[in-house]
Symmetry: none
Subunit: 81 residues, 2 copies
DNA sequence: CTATATTTGTGCGTATGTATG
DNA sequence: ACATACATACGCACAAATATA
């Protein structure tokens, strides 16, 4: 179970972003992330919301995305700390 | 090693186009290019992606394609004047 | 002209990310 | 936050053009 709480203190996209970030930090998520539509179903949100979350992670330098390919976790070493 | 970088800043078809253009400029590629499907295997992309790349090179005037025959590098002299 | 091999060209479906309403 | 349309990318199969025997 990984659904967000619509009444939670944060917006849905923030909750999803934090959840994915946690997976990256623990090493649970490496390489290519599951596709956005799959994550949307997992978190019980719309695909666009997941996109918003990934944009946040991209802004933090945690992931990079490529059309037609997927979203990839940036190596911790490449993040400089 | 000639495969495209899935984390690269450019699309796969752009990376392939630039790689082939570099070979043409260095003279490594002359006459007829390897067939598209061979290039696809070499760069680790789909044939359709190579087609897209060759379309870009054709647009730059670097190559010409003849159906059933192959894709040929345009002579530098023909491009420079 | 027929047959075969090689190479390019096209269509369909599917996965994934991007942009807009 | 949601739905829709569009671009990039992959895989497969078939058609068309060319070269060779």
């Amino acid at each position: 179970m990984s659904e967000v709480d619509p009444l939670g203190p944060d917006f849905a996209y923030v909750q999803v972003a934090n959840a994915i970030a946690a997976r990256i930090n623990t090493g649970e998520a490496r390489g290519r992330l599951p596709d956005g539509r799959h994550l949307a179903g997992e978190f019980g949100v719309a695909y666009q919301t997941v996109r918003h979350s990934l944009q946040v992670l991209h802004d933090r330098g945690l992931v990079v995305t490529r059309p037609g390919s997927g979203t990839f976790v940036v190596h911790p070493a490449s993040r400089g700390g």
